[in-house]
């Protein structure tokens, strides 16, 4: 709960609002992140994810509300917060005209990593990021995935308890993305709190908890499983049949059906209970002229949940 101090809470955001003129970029957002937790920010571009992260890094001043990071109020003491955080901005922001090692040494110096430890830490970061042998390469010559891991390396060189990653994997190939997430999990195992934004649904599944953000608002907050259950109470059925357009109308008026959504050339149908529904839907479609439909229960994805929650939010607004 915000306000109530728990030593375990590393990030505490309380009714945060950010306005740019008449535009409300962040609208009354409240959440906590525990030690060692990976919190995912899921939402479309322009939803306000980056703005929240920038406020937590002390780069933007909140219009109102409070943000505590590593036990320090960001608005009151941004400099103290900065020593306790690592930040990876959305746009790659290391020095392309310096080498891997020079970038690491620069940030080691800026964060005042003890002189005795610097060589050893750079070595371990290089190893962790899989950059061994590339220490003397100019950063501008590295491929996307390598740059991303180096940026993470620069952000964790000073061993911050809190890490902010703003869409760290955008524009990176799937294998590099997988590897990147393994690194994030290792950090979380070491007790680092990670706040990571993404618009990849599959990545959100790797997070301990997810904050769904849309149009500046926190639409939902919970574990991936919780969000799916909350957004989709009942059972999700996958329907494959001919005449999809006609089938959507038919199923929408079928008894016991809550919602129908098209996913590619299949339909996701949300029903109250599973018992007997499969056969009943097949019969309903056959009775209305669509024969040979295949229906089976499926595990709802985060995308299903996201679509449900965001539509609900937008309709309410």
């Amino acid at each position: 709960m915000p306000g109530e101090r728990q030593p375990d809470i590393q990030i505490s955001v309380d009714h945060l609002i950010k306005r740019f003129g008449a535009f409300i970029a962040v609208n009354d957002v409240t959440f906590d992140v525990r030690r060692g937790e990976i919190m995912g920010f899921l939402g479309p571009n322009g939803a306000g994810k980056s703005t929240i992260i920038r406020m937590l890094c002390g780069l933007l001043r909140p219009t109102s509300g409070r943000a505590m990071v590593a036990g320090v109020d960001v608005a009151l003491n941004p400099e103290r917060v900065r020593q306790s955080i690592g930040y990876m901005s959305q746009k790659f922001s290391l020095y392309g005209d310096l080498t891997v090692a020079e970038n690491l040494r620069f940030f080691g110096g800026i964060y005042r990593v003890p002189q005795k430890e610097i060589a050893e830490r750079i070595l371990s970061v290089v190893e962790m990021a899989g950059l061994a042998g590339r220490e003397d390469s100019l950063v501008s010559t590295l491929a996307g995935g390598w740059k991303q891991r180096l940026a993470l390396g620069c952000a964790i060189l000073h061993r911050p308890p809190v890490l902010f990653l703003d869409e760290p994997t955008s524009g990176v190939d799937p294998i590099s993305r997988r590897r990147f997430w393994e690194l994030i999990h290792e950090l979380s195992d070491d007790g680092v709190s990670v706040l990571v934004s993404t618009h990849y649904m599959d990545e959100a599944e790797y997070c301990n908890r997810i904050a769904m953000i849309d149009q500046g608002k926190l639409v939902a907050l919970g574990t991936p499983a919780e969000l799916k259950n909350r957004a989709l109470p009942g059972t999700l059925l996958l329907v494959e049949c001919d005449e999809i357009g006609h089938a959507i109308e038919l199923l929408g008026s079928a008894p016991g059906v809550r919602d129908v959504a098209a996913f590619g050339n299949t339909l996701h149908v949300l029903v109250d209970r599973e018992a007997g529904q499969t056969d009943r839907l097949i019969a309903w479609l056959a009775a209305h002229g669509i024969a040979g439909a295949r229906v089976r229960p499926i595990e709802p994805s985060l995308e299903d949940a996201f679509v449900q929650l965001v539509t609900g939010n937008r309709e309410a607004a």
């Binding site: 920038r54 890094c57 002390g58 780069l59 933007l60 001043r61 941004p78 400099e79 900065r82 020593q83 955080i85 930040y87 901005s89 746009k91 790659f92 922001s93 290391l94 020095y95 392309g96 005209d97 310096l98 020079e102 040494r105 620069f106 940030f107 080691g108 110096g109 800026i110 964060y111 005042r112 620069c154």
Partner: protein, 378 residues
């Protein structure tokens, strides 16, 4: 302020400067080219003024006077004329700036009364040159009259000497050759240093904004003072190198006499460099695009240094309402100090005022620049 962070910035900035070889070469070659261009381009000396002569007497004395004009390096005798009409034609055509006319009774009057006069006809469309030519002519004539006086006192004794013409004899100090180059070149050094110094730093912050590296830098605990000092130090080294080139060219290439001490010269140069580097940095902090920053830095340094520092126009000849403004022009103090050190050999004590002002300037602009940099994206 943490030295560790300053050092990290110095190393990083130094590496970037070293890698950007083209900009580095430009930064080191620019002062050479500018020194030579401005050093040769500006020359206020008027020598070899075109002169015509019209000797209506043609006596030994009158010819002797004209020989003095021929011998003077200030004059170049173009034509020997024989009528007033040809005098008019020569002046109209621009063959000469000045014509010396010797009256037919020149030596007669000199012999009888001990005094005589000649006529000078001038083309004053360029009034400055005309005034200078008049001055030169007077000094040639006075040189001649000294000789005549000596001859008379040899012949006629003391009685004639008392009636001889008096002449004002100016003693020129500090710049005995009256070579304008000697006071222009130190000014050129000031102009070039103002230009190069501010250009060096004007891009350093805007470059980080344009490349997107600033967002990360702002999220680190570095303070704006640490960042500024770390960024200025490598450029200070380049600036000192540039200053050495400029001053070296002034002494060894243009042959400006250097009478002061190296220590005083170094002190005022260091102070001036800090001022112009800080101005460039301030501009860089304020303007977020490299092109804009470079342009503004050029205007802020070049214009006041050229127009208001006393480099082009003497300050005491400026209109009353402009003159107070020149006290704000930082290059004025470096210019004054440089000229005094070069030509008069002035020391720190003589130059306490410009040194004090430059110190204050450096402190003020430095503090302003450090404060102007806000660690925020708002």
């Amino acid at each position: 302020m943490k030295l560790r962070r300053v050092r990290a910035v110095v190393v990083k900035e130094g590496l970037q400067i070293w890698r950007d070889r083209r900009s580095l070469i430009i930064a080191l070659l620019m002062p050479f080219m500018q020194m030579l261009l401005l050093g040769y381009g500006v020359n206020l000396d008027i020598k070899h003024v075109a002169v015509c002569t019209f000797d209506r007497e043609n006596s030994q004395t009158s010819q002797s006077l004209l020989k003095h004009f021929q011998a003077s390096s200030y004059f170049a005798v173009k034509h020997v004329l024989d009528s007033y009409k040809s005098v008019t034609t020569a002046l109209d055509r621009g063959d000469c700036v000045i014509t010396i006319v010797i009256p037919p009774d020149f030596s007669e009057r000199l012999r009888d009364s001990g005094q005589s006069s000649i006529q000078a006809i001038l083309d004053a469309t360029d009034d400055n040159t005309a005034a200078v030519a008049t001055g030169y002519a007077q000094s040639v004539v006075s040189g001649f009259s000294d000789e005549v006086q000596l001859q008379f006192s040899g012949i006629g004794g003391a009685s004639v000497a008392a009636a001889a013409p008096l002449s004002l004899e100016a003693r020129v100090w500090y710049n005995e050759d009256l070579d304008s180059r000697n006071f222009i070149i130190p000014g050129v050094v000031a102009v070039v240093m103002a230009l190069v110094g501010s250009q060096l730093t004007s891009l350093t912050i805007s470059r980080e904004w344009e490349r997107g590296t600033m967002e990360l830098l702002v999220s680190t605990p570095i303070t704006s003072m640490e960042l500024m000092i770390g960024k200025l130090l490598p450029y200070f080294a380049i600036g000192m190198l540039d200053a050495t080139f400029c001053l070296g060219i002034a002494v060894w290439w243009f042959g400006v006499p250097f009478r002061g001490s190296l220590a005083t010269l170094t002190l005022v140069t260091v102070l001036f460099l800090i001022v112009v580097l800080s101005i460039g940095y301030l501009v860089s902090v304020t303007i977020r695009t490299q092109l804009g920053a470079s342009q503004i830095a050029l205007i802020l340094t070049m214009l006041p240094t050229m127009m208001l520092s006393g480099y082009t126009f003497p300050i005491d000849q400026m209109p009353d309402f402009i003159r107070p403004v020149t006290y704000l022009v930082y290059s004025r103090y470096y210019l004054t100090a440089l000229k005094s050190i070069f030509l008069k050999g002035s020391g720190v004590v003589d130059l306490w005022f410009p040194i004090l002002i430059m110190l204050l300037y450096a402190a003020a602009v430095g503090t302003w620049a450090a404060r102007a940099f806000r660690k925020s994206l708002d």
